[in-house]
Amino acid sequence: MSSWDEAPDVVCHLENVQGLVDVLTAARWKRHQFALLEFSEHGVVLIVEETACLQAKVYLKRDLFIRYDYNAHSRRRFGLSLGLFVDCLNAFSVPAHSNLIQIQYPGPQMQLLLKSVDSPDASICAEISTRIPETIAWDYNFEPAGANPLTFTVKSAALKEAIEDLEWPGSSIQIILEPDPPSVTLRGEGHGDLQIDFMYYANSDLLVAFQCDQRTSFKYKYKFLRATISNMPSSVLKENRGSKLSIGRGGMLKVQHLVSIAKPSVSHAYGGDPVGYQQSGRIAHIEFYVKPEESDD
C-alpha cells in the first residue's frame, strides 16, 4: 500500500455530478462501450468510437472542477467501460443534495477512485478498474472543405426531433446544404422517402446560423447520425442551446454540442443570489465526428 503515501497523479473535485452524468450520457449510444479517458493539465477528455466511422469526444476543462490537482509529467490515459462509469457516477447523484465528489487516479491497482466528500459519516465510494487502451484513438483530422467553412447551427431539440423522424425511411441520410436560398435538407430514402427542410429565412429561430457558398451533399449512416444527438438528456435539450454541424474535407461531419454542467439553481432553496453559480465557464464541449458513406459528387 506504499503507493497511497505518494500523491496520486490526479485528484479533482466536482460539484454537480448530475451534470457530468448528463454529458457522458450524451456520448453513450450503446450498452457496452469502451471509452478512453485522458487526464492532462488542461482537464479531462473522454473518447468513444465505433468501427472507425463514428467518434465522440467530451472535453471537461479544468475550470469545471472546483479543485483540479495534476501531478503527473505526461498525459495519463487509460480505458474503462463508459456504461459502468456513468452508472457509477449516477449513484453519486442524489436529488436535492449537493453531491460533491472527488475523482482520483490511479488507485493501488490502477483503478479510478470516486468518493463523495460531503459528510464524513455517510459516504459513497467506488473503484472502477481501468485497462491499458489497446489502440490509440483514430485521429479524425477534421479540415475545412474549402476556403469558407460549411457550417450551420440548429436548435438541438429540433435536430433531435428531425433525426428521430428520419428513423422510418432508415439506413442512410443525405445532408444537403444549399446556398440559395440558404437551407439545410435532411433526406432519408428507404421504405419510402422523407425530407426535412430547414429554411434559413423561414426558420431563423430553429436554424440559428448558416454558412455555405456551394451546394454540398453527403450521405451518412442513420445509426451514426442518431448517435450524435439521440442520447442527449432532455434536461440538456431544455436549455435550448444550438448544435453546430460542420462538413469538412471529404464530407467528414462534425457535430458540436455545449452542455452546461453548472449547479442546478433549484438546489439553492436557501436563498441568496444564485448568480455566483451561473458561470459561463461551466460548459462541457461534446464533439462527434461521423464519416460519410460515399461522396455524391
Binding site: 467501460s81 459502468l84 452508472d87 457509477c88 449516477n90 449513484a91 442524489v94 436529488p95 443534495h97 464524513p120 459519516d121 455517510a122 459516504s123 459513497i124 465510494c125 467506488a126 473503484e127 472502477i128 478498474s129
Partner: protein
Amino acid sequence: MKFKAFLTDNGVNLLEKRFLPALDKIGKTCHLYLTRDNAIFLHNLLNGDGVQSVAQFRIQALFDDYRISSQNDDRIAFTIDVSLLLRALRSTVSISSEYGADVAAPDSDSSNRLQIKLVKKLPPNCTVAMPFLTVETRGYKSAVIQDIPISKPLSRAQVVELQNALEMAQDLPQTLVQVPDLIQLQNFVDRMKNVGDVLNVFISKYGDLRVDVSTTLISLGAEFRKLLVIGEQANEPAEDQNLSARSRSSKSISRGDGQTVQVSVKHFSKSLQCHLSKPDCAFYGIAPQGSCLTMIFQFFIPGSRQSDKSISLHCRLPVLDPGSS
C-alpha cells in the same frame, strides 16, 4: 370457521395508505393469519427463498366488533392477493368518502362502516363453492360488496407450521443499527442495481453500516458511520478511525465486532419499499451465524416518541451462499 369484523377508520387508513402499498411491493400474495388477538400479514414464511416479511397488528389497531371462531383454537390463515385487497379497500374508501360528503350527520358513520368477512360462494360457471374475503361498504342509499378470492384456509398442520415459522422469525440480531434515511438509501440502491446483483452488507458494533456491490470491474458502496446502536455495542479503536472503509470493516470482522453477509440487490431494494408504511425508524442487523439480514421498522404512537406496540413490521432477507455469486 367464521370471521367477521368491522375495519375502523384508523385500520383502513393504516392498511390502505401505508401497509398494503408496502407489502404489495414485497410480493403479490401473502398469508393473512388471524388469531384472537392479532392479524398478521406474512410473506414467504413457508416457501423459503424470497424476502420474508411479517406485519403484525393487534386486533384493536384495525378492527372493532371482531369475531373469529375456528376449531383450531380460533386461528384462521389463508393466502390472499395483496394488490386485490388494496384495490378493494381503495374503492370502498372512495365510495364512503363520496357518501360522507352527502351525509353530514356525524352519527351516520355507523351505517357507513366497512365490514370484512370470510364467505364461501359459488362463482359463476363453477360447481364448487370457493372461499372469498368479502369487503362490504354500506352507503347512504346502496351497498357495495367486493369479493376477493382467497386460498382454501390452511389446514391445522399448515397453521402450526406457519405459527412455528413466525416464532422462528422473531429472533433478534445481537446488534442493530439505525438506518438514517430510507428514501435516500433506496435511491442509492436503485442506482446500484445497474452495477451488480449481489450486495455485501456490513454491520458493526461501532455503529457502521456499509452496503456495496463488487464485481471484477467495479466496486460501488455507501458507508454510514456513528449510527445509533441497539443491543451489543463497542467503541471503535482510535487507530482505526482514519483507515479506509474496507480495511476498517475487515479489522472489525477479525475482532468479532462486525459481521458481513451477501444478499440480493433486488431483495434489498424490495425491503426498502417498506418505507411506504411510513415507519418512524428502521434498524438493520445480521442474525447470529449470518443466517439472514433483519430489518426492523418501528412505529411511534402519533405525536409521541413512544413505540406503538400494536403495530410491528420486520423483514428478513435470505443470505446468498458466497460460493454461488
